[in-house]
Symmetry: C2
Subunit: 183 residues, 2 copies
């Protein structure tokens, strides 16, 4: 676990947390426009001497098109006979190592979403019933309270905090309604 470097028979890059933008925990107040995101991704790829090939562009565009986090298979559905599944996996691994996308390990397949430095800092409402995950942005005031709690808890233990997860788990509005009406 120490090195964090994976190969997959292709490009080998440094793990995400070696990128200053991640560890600083800074992310834009408002998400970037799609074209701007593509620019930023190209920059990061080139700074890691990784080519922005057709396959990688197609995968990135598919991720941008999809409104929620997506698995390799989801992307493959979108990109069938344009990019083979193995290349999608490879691209996701590369982009994850470069901190462009973030993997979410849950039930079933790993799902990826764009990193916070591209789409802005956010949290999640996770529905236990339908499994849906809603992204939420908290107010600046709330975030500053959370930041305070994080730094206190971390500093007390000699831990260097880089990021925090503040996710809420429960039952979403529509499932709660459905559950009420069916008993």
């Amino acid at each position: 676990m120490r090195t964090g470097i994976r190969s997959h028979g292709g490009t080998t890059v440094a793990p995400a947390w070696h990128h200053p933008q991640e560890t600083a925990g800074k992310s834009p107040e408002t998400p970037m426009a799609t074209s701007q995101i593509e620019q930023q991704v190209m920059l990061r790829l080139s700074s890691a001497e990784v080519r922005f090939t057709k396959g990688r562009r197609l995968v990135l565009e598919a991720i941008l098109r999809s409104d929620s986090r997506c698995s390799a298979r989801d992307l493959y559905k979108d990109l069938e006979d344009e990019v083979p599944l193995s290349s999608i996996y490879r691209t996701l691994t590369t982009m994850s190592d470069l901190g462009i996308v973030v993997p979410h390990h849950g039930t079933g397949a790993i799902r990826y979403e764009l990193a916070e430095w591209l789409v802005g800092h956010h949290h999640h409402l996770i529905c236990r019933s339908c499994g849906n995950i809603e992204d939420i942005k908290l107010t600046e005031h709330t975030e500053s309270i959370i930041d305070g709690l994080v730094s206190t808890a971390a500093e007390e233990r000699g831990f260097i905090a880089a990021n925090h997860y503040f996710d809420i788990d429960g039952v979403c509005a529509s499932c709660a309604r459905a559950d009420n009406s069916t008993g």
Copy 2:
């Protein structure tokens, strides 16, 4: 995803979030003693009409012995030629459905830890470098602040919050030291 009921060729039970102790989000201030946990687990199993067999007892004891969250394979290492791997998987599924253990999907295998109603509410410091996860308990005051943030964020969106995750990701003290000394 709706029903949450899995079979696995064995016992079929209601999913964890149907148990009042979970959804109420209440957990003891201080963790129970081992024997007391075993008592509580027996109670929950019997209330679900699931037997506390030798295999299940051995798996539970192995979980109690291990100081951190463990995977089916970890337990198998401990219980080799006492409980076969397939039975360990089955037991973990059963206990997870009954809300006795909680699965953590991460890199690699699913790792299980005892549910909060048995070991108390806690949060995590996750080291990106060595992968170690440290359990931390926050002060009552801090928890009440978090509870406030949770209910505000949830209520605004018609979401019924049952639990929250407040985990901090970064570099642990020992990895930070190692990283400094090696450059």
